[in-house]
Symmetry: C2
């Protein structure tokens, strides 16, 4: 059996762990309950919650007279208002770090700053954060090139999607310095992502096979696998233990395992068990 190097930082981050716990507790408490979008990007976890009676709806309009769970990515200010008008029970599982970024956006906008949000425009977390600032005074910037295209401002504030890479954030701030005399920066990046990526790089460099566990729809798991693949081309992104191919293990002395922020522990454990089975053959 190959030696397994399991990343300490594999799996649930603080915000996802909290959201998942809140969802299961709310499922216990409420007969009629839904989540606005899949609570996390793990189809297996979403299925378990469905077994507990939590249905997934894709818009506020689809929420009926039932409790509603806001997932860790958060929602837009407009959606929250709509929910409040419906007078349903709201279980707000927005990650506290995302919440903080939303609060910074609202406050900085109120204080008259133009806001640069370093992140991916289409990501629901980003859509949520920017909804707290006026549309014509917020600029989503994914990279240095987009930052360079910004006009000049008198006062500029910069925050980040919580899962952004620090180096990209830093490089964009260097560009923003040429755009305004006054700059306010709140580093809203959550360290969990960089810690997980750093450890994954380290493990990938010491093994012959690297497995990254997580939903195929999870952006952070996909990114994690890409980072590992740069170092160890024999890297596979797997969603469950069933995805493992025994052929991968030929000549493998050490196998590395890590997992995205939305991967439940039991899925990781099943992968570990499966490695042991494959190794025995």
């Amino acid at each position: 059996m190959p030696e397994i190097l399991l990343a300490k930082s594999a799996g649930y981050c603080f915000g996802v762990k909290r959201a998942t716990q809140m969802a299961f507790e709310a499922a216990d408490e409420h007969e009629d309950i839904c989540s606005l979008g899949p609570i996390i990007h793990s189809p297996q976890l979403v299925k378990r919650l469905e077994g507990q009676g939590v249905r997934v709806v894709d818009a506020v309009g689809a929420v009926e007279n039932e409790a509603v769970i806001i997932r860790s990515h958060g929602i837009t200010a407009g959606e929250l208002d709509e929910l409040k008008k419906k007078q349903v029970t709201i279980v707000d599982a927005t990650c506290p770090f995302v919440k903080k970024a939303q609060e910074h956006a609202a406050r900085l906008n109120g204080e008259g700053y133009h806001l640069v949000l370093v992140g991916e425009e289409e990501h629901p977390e980003v859509q949520g954060i920017i909804s707290y600032a006026e549309k014509d005074r917020v600029h989503v910037v994914a990279n240095v090139e987009q930052a360079e295209a910004l006009p000049r401002f008198s006062r500029l504030a910069v925050i980040a999607q919580t899962t952004q890479a620090f180096d990209n954030f830093r490089d964009i701030i260097a560009v923003c310095l040429t755009k305004a005399r006054e700059l306010r920066v709140y580093n809203t990046i959550c360290d969990a992502t960089s810690v997980r990526q750093k450890e994954a790089r380290d493990i990938a460099s010491r093994v012959e096979l690297m497995l990254v566990v997580g939903g195929y729809n999870s952006a952070n798991t996909t990114r994690l696998a890409a980072i590992c693949r740069e170092i160890q081309p024999r890297t596979h992104h797997v969603e469950t233990a069933d995805d493992l191919d025994p052929a991968w293990f030929a000549g493998v002395v050490r196998v590395g395992v890590t997992a995205g922020a939305s991967t439940p522990d039991w899925l990781i454990e099943q992968v570990l068990e499966r490695i042991e089975e494959v190794g025995e053959k």
Copy 2:
């Protein structure tokens, strides 16, 4: 005679021009008058002012019952308090850009931020600015290495000595980003310095001889000469027309001329006239 390429940005910056005018006007108005330190780093200009009755004193204690001129670099908050207690007429010729940096230091300190000032610790401008913040909450940082040695802070603000190079400021801010979650940046750098340096580089690359006019005690003139010397080794820092050596002009088709921020126009003109004389020989 060689062709002369004179820098448009040669000589007095806005703050120095203003301070010099204020000093001559004050000399007209007041019988007894002194300046706290040489008004600018031009011995020739200081001598002219002495001819108008402005004596130079080196400390507030030496100010008698007379009007006192504060030079463009500014003074410390403590010195200003002392002057006010003496109830003498104060002619405050502090550069408005330096004043702004002092105000930022006081306000940011009052709002509870630790302050990083990017600059040269010993420079009187820096001594003046940092005096507006509490000693144990202000850190003068000259380069990236010194920034890396800083501890972590919860809230950090960064400003700069007005004559700092932008690239150094930017690089230090990148380091400060790793030191605090919240960062406030006021870019207090005056463009005059970088504009003058950029033009000097351009001219130095197009001539066989480069002359940089300014006080030997002027930091910005010395730096300007060093920048030109990197591009054209035949660069000379001269204080007056008398310093020109005809031997320098052998084989020179084009000569470049620039001057530091504290160099009076008439000194530059005398150098130009001297070049014409030398060229005729």
